[in-house]
């Protein structure tokens, strides 16, 4: 299972080699998350309509390796945008993927850009 996790590595905007189109803005529920597929990866995409920002991260929760983070509720903690895993409510920062409860769990994050009403996620593979 650990290798499944290892395929998710944070991609910084500067390192993006592929901007992968995942759909239109309207395909993504407002102030909510959804899951997309890129090659063999499952990526959670969050549409923070309130702030006009978008975030993406691995769909797999590092706690119990469940592909569920896209279903998690989003919001903020002390102004840090976050997602709460629906399984056990572990909170992850969508800015740097760290666990907001101070645990070792970390998730990979990916850059998102919106162009012409389309949603793109940045990958380096």
């Amino acid at each position: 299972m650990q290798d499944i996790l290892s395929k998710y590595q944070t991609v910084l905007e500067a390192d993006v080699t592929t901007w992968f189109e995942v759909g239109q803005v309207s395909d993504f529920l407002e102030n909510s998350g959804a899951c997309i597929k890129y090659k063999d990866k499952q990526i959670a995409v969050y549409n923070f309509t309130r702030t006009g920002k978008w975030y993406a991260c691995q769909n797999m929760c590092p706690h119990k390796m469940e592909n569920v983070l896209a279903l998690g509720m989003i919001g903020d903690k002390d102004d840090i945008p976050k997602v709460a895993c629906p399984m056990h409510k572990k909170n992850f920062s969508l800015e740097d993927g760290s666990n907001l409860g101070g645990e070792d769990y970390k998730i990979a994050t990916y850059p998102v850009k919106i162009e012409g009403g389309n949603v793109y996620i940045g990958f380096s593979d």
């Binding site: 995942v22 529920l29 597929k37 309130r50 945008p81 629906p86 409510k89």
Partner: protein
């Protein structure tokens, strides 16, 4: 020096004697009738006075021995040492110049000549007469009560008689012999313990529906009952004894035609009657129900005659306790000696502590609480047989009284606070956790559970972990504690307790706690409920804009979703983004990210055809099936994209959502009732179906479960539910606020013998009131626990409409009922809504990470790594 004036002392006229006589003549004569606890206390207090030398006291006692400590009478069973119980030995009286004449009853009072007559027909003159004749056990006029083996419990002689009789009936017998105590009051319970100590099997028979009816409320009585029963004392409540059975000696008691118990001894402890016969013979003013009337100087209608102790009727009451008697003795002493300012206070403290070995029971001040006067805070732990109640004035400043069962270690402190009107903490609840500091006793609150107790079993977090993270660590609020300890991050069942622990720990550090929802809203659930309703807020985002800050989180979103549902019957389809995953996908998320499907089976009634449909659907989608505890069928292992297809098939076959995923009405469990069961009194299935259909889809602060049983055998376990109906003669008994789960609780009786319509009316009011006022994720039982005034208050709200809300609550509920629609039907009929039931936005692929392994004939998700 001794001063005697007695018939048996020869008159020798000497100079000395003349001096003596003159001195004596000058002395006022006090005669005390009754050498009991209070009569003795009068003597003791009198001789301690400066000028007591100017008085001469003679005290008469009908009993053969000097006054003894009746309060500790039961100790006689242990040692049979009457001497040890004496208030003072005979010599004490002599030493203090008091003439004690035992074994002589006073039979008459001649007020005009100020003389008394004794049973030996002797006459004595008095200047002041003090009646301290106490009381006698009240023996109800029951057919056969005169039989051999029936005792009262007041004197050493009574106890000697009981001991001898118990010996006699037990001699040569192998089985345990049963004995009953008539009366479940303070004394009756003490007698029951004594009976048990004699080797007999005790049965307490009480007329009232609760034990210690004057001191305890229904719930504390229940707790006490459980404790006593666990000790081997059998309790029979609401029993009126018709007849004492047996010829010659007692063999049993009969309550109703088919209701009796076999007992071979009976101790009557059914209350006391003042021994006021002397007052009657000499025409003193008497109470209508007995007792000699006294004023606050303890004077009877004849100012030279005083009455004190259990014979005195003060403020229209007889006080069956020793402490007020002692106060009366003090007043009478002062009045006679000339300190006329000492009078009896208006309010008499009736606080009592049961000294029955093995159980702590105490009640002080006002044990019950009329709503006009204040409110109550109640703590109960059935598993530990603990109950604590405090009654606080409306302004929260004064402790008015309370009840302690199971652990009365705080009694003294609380009693002191009550007695002296000491200031109480702003949050009166803290009084219930008073013994925290001294490290012992009182599992009175969450703070009293041992540090090592596991609070969050998912994450193995102990109470100590949680508290220390605040008191010794750097956590400052619930969020910090959760982040640090991970408590509540598992199933979340421990949340209420963690919240309490965090709040209490913060309080212990003097930090302010406001029970707000989360960092985004500075309100509690009820405040938000009202704000949303009054301001007609349309959705979550608007709520956040108007009343919150930031962008929300997994705490406030589902909570506000639930408020919208409770106000507008809004289904989760309307604002899917703020729903818990379960509600968002209208299914329960399971271990591996798959979902389960539960169609509603109202009342648990299902046709063979429906069963076949469920079976076929399960087969087709390869679902694991299991019967749930709520009498329906759960289908596990569905993938997100399969949910709409599965539900389409189910809905086409006439099923609808079972709301098993929501904080909402789950099921109303039923037994077959009168339709099939030979004991059934009413149609429990029909009623369960009606009720389940009425409240289906109703969203609430936490899940709601109901039950309907066709008779008191309670096969539907209705009392383990948030609301339960049990068929009785003449209708339904309605119980509320029970639950199973981690902290099981029996529902408590709200109303009796209701017809269907009234039962539904009360249910509407109760449920709506709960929905409006409960905190987030607080089930009905802890809600009731925290409700000021408890069940009595709830009864007033629901039955008597004390808040004037009843009609509004009913209308609101009816509005919700009318607006019900099956949210699954709504979802599958709307292509927009159905879009969310898809694993990937950009692909029709499914989650390839799912792995199932075989399990008996079915399948299960692969174990977690």
């Amino acid at each position: 020096m001794l001063w005697f004036f007695h018939k048996h002392i020869p008159y020798i006229i000497t100079y000395n004697y003349l001096v003596l006589c003159l001195k004596y003549v000058d002395m006022k004569k006090i005669i005390v009738v009754g050498n009991g606890m209070v009569g003795y206390k009068f003597c003791e207090k009198f001789v301690a006075q400066e000028n007591s030398k100017n008085f001469k006291i003679t005290i008469f006692g009908e009993e053969p021995r000097p006054a003894y400590d009746r309060v500790h009478l039961s100790e006689f069973f242990d040692n049979q040492d009457a001497k040890a119980l004496e208030m003072a030995p005979r010599e004490w009286y002599e030493e203090h110049g008091i003439e004690l004449i035992s074994n002589e009853r006073i039979t008459d009072i001649h007020r005009s000549s100020k003389k008394i007559t004794t049973s030996k027909d002797l006459h004595y003159k008095y200047d002041y007469l003090v009646l301290a004749t106490g009381s006698a056990p009240f023996v109800p006029n029951i057919n056969g009560i005169e039989k051999k083996g029936v005792f009262v419990y007041r004197t050493i002689e009574d106890l000697e008689g009981m001991l001898a009789y118990a010996d006699e009936i037990q001699k040569g017998r192998n089985e345990t012999v049963k004995a009953a105590v008539l009366g479940g009051g303070l004394l009756g319970l003490e007698a029951a313990k004594a009976v048990m100590d004699m080797g007999l099997e005790p049965h307490v028979v009480e007329f009232a529906p609760k034990l210690m009816p004057r001191q305890l409320d229904r719930r504390s009585s229940n707790v006490l009952q459980e404790k006593l029963e666990s000790m081997g004392i059998n309790i029979h409540l609401s029993k009126a004894t018709n007849k004492i059975l047996g010829d010659g000696a007692i063999t049993g008691m009969e309550f109703g035609e088919y209701d009796k118990i076999d007992v071979e001894m009976l101790v009557v402890s059914a209350g006391i009657r003042p021994r006021d016969e002397l007052g009657k013979t000499c025409d003193l003013k008497m109470g209508t129900r007995g007792g000699i009337v006294v004023n606050n100087k303890m004077q009877t209608s004849d100012p030279e005659i005083y009455a004190i102790g259990e014979v005195a009727l003060y403020n229209n009451m007889i006080y069956g306790l020793v402490a007020p008697g002692y106060d009366m003795a003090e007043v009478a002493v002062s009045q006679i000696i000339g300190n006329s300012h000492v009078i009896m206070p208006e309010d008499i403290d009736m606080s009592t502590k049961l000294k029955l070995i093995g159980v702590d029971v105490a009640s002080y001040g006002e044990p019950f609480m009329p709503v006009e006067k204040g409110y109550s805070v109640v703590f109960e732990n059935k598993t530990k047989d603990l109950y604590k109640r405090i009654n606080v004035s409306h302004d929260g400043k004064k402790l008015l009284g309370g009840i302690l069962v199971g652990d009365a270690s705080d009694y003294n402190m609380l009693h002191q606070i009550y007695l002296n009107g000491l200031p109480i903490p702003e949050d009166a609840e803290e009084l219930l956790i008073g013994s925290r500091g001294d490290g012992e006793g009182g599992f009175g609150s969450v703070m009293d559970i041992p540090d090592a107790a596991q609070v969050c079993s998912c994450e193995s977090i102990t109470k100590g972990d949680i508290c220390c993270s605040i008191t010794e660590g750097d956590c400052n609020n619930l969020g910090d504690v959760i982040a640090k300890t991970k408590a509540t991050t598992g199933c979340g069942g421990c949340k209420p307790m963690v919240v309490d622990l965090v709040n209490e720990s913060l309080k212990s550090l003097g930090k302010e706690v406001k029970e707000t929802i989360c960092e985004h809203f500075d309100f509690n659930r009820q405040e938000l409920y009202d704000l949303i309703k009054i301001n007609k807020v349309k959705d979550y985002q608007e709520t956040l804009n108007l009343f919150g800050e930031g962008h929300g989180c997994e705490i406030c979103k589902p909570l506000i979703a639930s408020i919208f549902a409770s106000i507008h019957m809004e289904t989760p389809n309307k604002q899917p983004g703020i729903q818990d995953t379960n509600d968002r996908f209208l299914a329960n998320i399971q271990r591996n990210g798959t979902y389960s499907v539960v169609p509603r089976v109202a009342g648990g009634e299902i046709t063979p055809d429906q069963l076949i449909v469920i079976g076929e659907v399960a087969k087709k989608y390869d679902l694991y099936t299991k019967i749930t505890g709520g009498q329906r069928i759960d289908l596990f292992g569905a993938q997100i994209h399969e949910l709409p297809m599965i539900w389409k098939e189910l809905i086409d076959a006439g099923f609808e959502s079972g709301h098993a995923y929501g904080k909402s009405l789950r099921t109303v469990k039923s037994c077959v009732g009168s339709t099939w069961c030979r004991y059934g009194m009413h149609e429990s299935v029909t009623f369960a179906i009606d009720i389940e259909n009425r409240y289906r889809g109703l969203r609430s602060p936490h899940k709601l479960k109901g039950g309907v049983s066709g008779c008191i055998r309670e096969c539907a376990e209705a009392r383990g539910k948030d609301f339960g109906l049990i068929a009785v003669d003449g209708g339904w008994n309605l119980y509320v606020c029970g639950n199973g789960g981690a902290t099981p609780k029996h529902a408590v009786l709200l109303a009796e013998q209701l017809d269907d319509e009234t039962a539904v009316k009360y249910l509407d009011r109760f449920l709506m009131y709960y929905i409006r006022t409960a905190g987030p994720l607080v089930r009905t039982a802890p809600w009731l626990d925290k409700l000021e005034g408890g069940i009595d208050y709830l009864k007033q709200v629901v039955i008597e409409d004390s808040l004037g809300l009843a009609e509004e609550l009913e209308q609101e509920m009816q509005g919700l009922v009318n607006k019900y629609e099956c949210e699954w039907k709504q979802a599958i009929e709307n292509p927009e809504m159905i879009k969310r039931f898809k694993h990937f936005v950009n692909s029709d692929d499914t989650d390839d990470n799912l792995v199932f392994v075989p399990m008996r004939e079915q399948k299960m998700p692969k174990a977690w790594v």
